[in-house]
Amino acid sequence: MEANNGQTKAGDWRTYQRVLLPPVKDLHRLDVYEQHGGYTALRTVLTDARWEPKAVTEEVKASGLRGRGGAGFSTGLKWSFMPPVDDRPRYLCCNGDESEPGTFKDRQLMEYNPHLVFEGILIACYAMSINTCYLYVRGEYADWISHMERELEKLYAKGYVGENIMGTGFSTDIVIHKGAGAYICGEESSLMESLEGKRAYPRIKPPFPAQKGLWGYPTTINNVETLACVPLIINNGAAWYAGIGAERHPGPVLYGISGHVNKPGVYEYPTGMLITDLIYEVCGGIRGGKKLKAVVPGGSSTPVLRADQIEGVTMDAESLREAGSMMGTAGMLVMDEDTDMVSFLRRVTHFYHHESCGQCTPCREGTGWLENLVTRIDEGEGHLRDLDLLLDLCTQMEGRTVCALADAAAWPVRHTIQRFREEFEARCKPSVFPTGDGAPAEAVPAS
């Protein structure tokens, strides 16, 4: 089992040295960042003849870096989808829209190590011969946007961004774009629509962004954390990176852990960490010494795992898939034994109902219906048949829309009901056909 490889390698997490968010005071300042080896990776790829653009892509591919935005697609492979350079413009979009509930890790990077993100962007631009990058940051992150803008100005002043970077003849502009305030803007194709000034409706694929992206030109979209890994790979080599954490899903990862733990927060550790280690060791266990009930491993859309399902499960795509969930954004929601799963699901369905963009029928209509049904159950007015209807509606939504929002809305419903069915049944109105001695008194026998 590959999952075990990850587990053993991540086993020495206690001695792990942080690289994405190293413990350096004032690292967000350009001078401090440079004192600590900042921008050497960029200088190397721009000046060293060994680093042809293609070689950078190959190095990233070899490192095994997988996207940190949720889907976990190989970053190097994605870069290699860009068509050969011609006279058309090409774009990089750095996705900092970060709006999946339970996810707050990109914000930390932008706050504490913004130059790592900028350096990653510049190297990625070099690798794909791109000279414009749009950094799309969630609009609600107003403070972080101005913080990033301030740092970007310094980079322009120093000649690290813009025309003729470091005197090498390579030019790239970085534009920070304030997000338009909707969850859907984080979906890569609607992010491009939003950048184009349109309503953020996801596009149908194919064509994929590498063929026809921003303004119809070849475009690559990467997550903030993904790009932050790139300078590390250049500095330390693909083999070093591939040696961190899980074999098939390597590298450092920012775990955003929230919920009923003693020490919630963003923690940088290798992939392939045991979920139990994260909860009981890293986060100091469950609040109030309570028992664990459920874990959502990677943001609200990833399927919830019961406490008895996480034994030996590690935080990497393969192990989590086997356990019946997904890595997502590694934004982990931890719930203790007192948690009301119906109420939890009600809140999740409300979110997706509120955030469905309304383009496709199943998602536009389905998300609202899901919330209606879960709310009714939560208020004690639901029927047992509502549970089957909920599962039916999930089937009617999954895989039938342009983007994955319908799936993201349906999965939590399907899996929370499947994995906590008794809790849901107990909340529903009693059946009119009671069975056994334990039938509730108010139940009406069929006559």
């Binding site: 149908i204 383009q359 199943p362 895989g399 039938r400």
Partner: protein
């Protein structure tokens, strides 16, 4: 030739086509709402889902993998595909709802979703009866609904602009309307506002949806969300008959249907003709029908000392002939008309020739700046080009005035125009000369000076040919009946009703709406005969046959050749 297999049937195809369009072209119905052949493909309604599979190739050899029986191994996409957005590919295998339960179920599921927040107010909805949602819900949708909650409420009776109303609750967010304004008319006056299930189309703040093509969104709306201010609540679709014809508000000759109930035109909708107007119709063409219903003359009149008095058609012909006989033919001004058909203008030219008069002239009605290079033209008449091709040239106003001053005009014979309103004459100038007038409606200003007034059938009551600004000859057909029996008209009359159950004539019981008028090809021979020049034509078809044979500029323009979409005539160079 590349092949695609749909429901087990193999079809050849050429060029790049989308699967849905290919199916529709081959008579395979697939339910759909957002797809429109003239618009971009957002694939947002998710109704046209099908199973799509492709043959599997061996990675090493590039050869097709084959089953034991030699048939290629087909791998189906894990998800259902929207057929509107799928490009045909050689070897593709498609299963529609006819052969796949999965597809049939998915289409049913989707319709269930579409209907949960739809108000289902079909009994009071103008779209009912020709509503894609209603039709497809009955055909492909579920029995009843499992939705037990309050529907989402959205604005109703919103006036988007002067001509279009919105009921946002009926909207299914197909975005056809916003795509029309973005991609076809390019006015960008509509956008979707709000989010999710609260979505609906709206104009930007403080603007109106008033572009000259706004009413097209009413036709392409697959539900009753967008209705025409002009037509809403007036007539149900099954109460009307539709007749394929063309519009005459400008020189484009856009193809249309005239919808008639009780002998009144109720609305005008576009008829697809890719060579002329494609799928569209300007608002001015749609609102140009009131003149067919209102303010119509009641039978022929002649002037006596007591003013214009009603007479019989025979008496009117007699009087017109008598007036013309009394003057020197060289001093008769014949005015053809760019509003009248080729046939009528031709007969007028024949009459002028037979009498030995000068060839007729026509009055141009050009409004510079009105045209937009698309379906609206500067020329506000439908047949200027037809006149030119018959050798009927624009009238020289200065010359006419000079001749009038010299007393060289002793009579004026006007075919379907209003020279006084057009400024060619004043009513006073015409007061002393005999004027024979074929006219449209009673607000005609020349009528006050006319000595014989012969009410002319309008474009919705006659048969004839118009030549549009691009030299395309197109036929018109009678959509409403006139008073009096005319077998030729009756045979051509549009008899389609949406429900197909009515007898052909039952909707014309209301005699009050039948106008006592005659087409030019019936009244002109009546006058000519009394002048000793019998025109021996059985009807407009025969007239056009002769025009096509004798006038080179009309070569090939027979009724058979024109059919429903018209005939492109040879270029004749510079015209109006």
């Amino acid at each position: 030739m590349p092949q695609v297999t749909i429901d087990g049937q193999v079809y050849d195809f050429e060029g790049g086509s989308k699967l849905l369009q290919f199916c529709l072209d081959h008579g395979l119905e697939l339910p759909h709402f957002c797809y429109h052949p003239a618009l971009s493909i957002p694939a947002n309604c998710r109704q046209c889902l099908v199973e799509v599979g492709m043959p599997v190739k061996d990675r090493q050899t590039g050869e097709l993998k084959r089953n034991e029986d030699g048939s290629p191994v087909i791998q189906f996409f894990p998800k259902l595909q929207t057929s509107c957005s799928v490009d045909l590919a050689d070897g593709m295998v498609v299963k529609t709802h006819r052969t796949s339960d999965l597809v049939a179920r998915a289409q049913e599921d989707n319709l269930e979703f579409l209907l949960i927040n739809h108000p289902l107010d079909c009994p009071i909805c103008d779209q009912a009866g020709h509503c894609p949602l209603q039709i497809q819900a009955y055909k492909y949708g579920p029995e009843g609904s499992r939705f037990e909650f309050r529907k989402v409420h959205k604005p109703k009776r919103v006036r988007l602009g002067p001509r279009v109303m919105l009921d946002a609750e009926r909207c299914i967010n197909c975005t056809r309307c916003t795509r029309f304004t973005d991609e076809v008319s390019k006015s960008h006056q509509l956008t979707i506002i709000s989010r999710g299930v609260k979505n609906y189309p709206m104009t930007p703040p403080n603007t109106e949806f008033d572009e000259p093509y706004s009413m097209n969104v009413v036709d392409i709306c697959p539900v009753g969300a967008l209705t025409a201010v002009d037509a809403r609540f007036k007539a149900r679709i099954w109460e009307m008959s539709s007749t394929p014809s063309i519009t005459t508000a400008n020189a484009k000759g856009s193809n249309c249907f005239y919808w008639v109930r009780d002998n009144l035109v109720m609305k005008v909708t576009p008829r697809t003709n890719m060579a002329v107007n494609e799928f569209w119709l300007p608002d001015e063409d749609r609102l140009d029908y009131h003149r067919f219903n209102d303010d119509r003359p009641e039978g022929p009149q002649v002037r006596t000392d007591a003013g214009l008095v009603p007479v019989s058609w025979e008496q009117a012909y007699d009087r017109a002939a008598a007036l013309l006989q009394g003057v020197d033919p060289a001093r008769v001004l014949f005015l053809g008309s760019a509003y009248a058909t080729v046939e009528d203008n031709y007969l007028l030219a024949q009459l002028a020739q037979a009498l030995g008069a000068e060839a007729p002239r026509y009055i141009p009605h050009v409004e510079p700046g009105h045209g937009d290079g698309w379906l609206r033209t500067d020329d506000r008449t439908p047949n200027a080009q037809g006149c030119e091709r018959l050798g009927i040239l624009p009238v020289d106003e200065a010359l006419v005035q000079a001749r009038l001053a010299d007393g060289e005009i002793a009579a004026v014979y006007v075919l379907e125009d209003d020279p006084v309103a057009a400024g060619l004459f004043t009513a006073a100038q015409l007061a002393d000369i005999p004027v024979v007038l074929h006219h449209y409606n009673t607000t005609n200003q020349t009528l006050a000076a006319a000595d014989v007034a012969l009410p002319a059938a309008t474009v919705v009551e006659t048969i004839g040919t118009y030549v549009n600004c691009d030299g395309r000859a197109q036929r018109v057909r009678p959509a409403k009946a006139i008073r009096g029996v005319n077998r030729t008209l009756m045979m051509e009359m549009g008899k389609t009703r949406a429900d197909q159950h009515g007898t052909p004539f039952d909707r014309w019981y209301n005699e009050a709406h039948q106008v006592d008028c005659k087409p030019g090809w019936e009244s002109l021979p009546g006058v000519a005969e009394r002048l000793g020049h019998a025109f021996r034509f059985k009807g407009p078809k025969q007239i056009m046959q002769q025009v096509a044979e004798r006038v080179p500029a009309f070569a090939g323009a027979t009724y058979e050749a024109m059919g429903l979409t018209g005939v492109q005539l040879a270029d004749i160079g510079e015209t109006v």
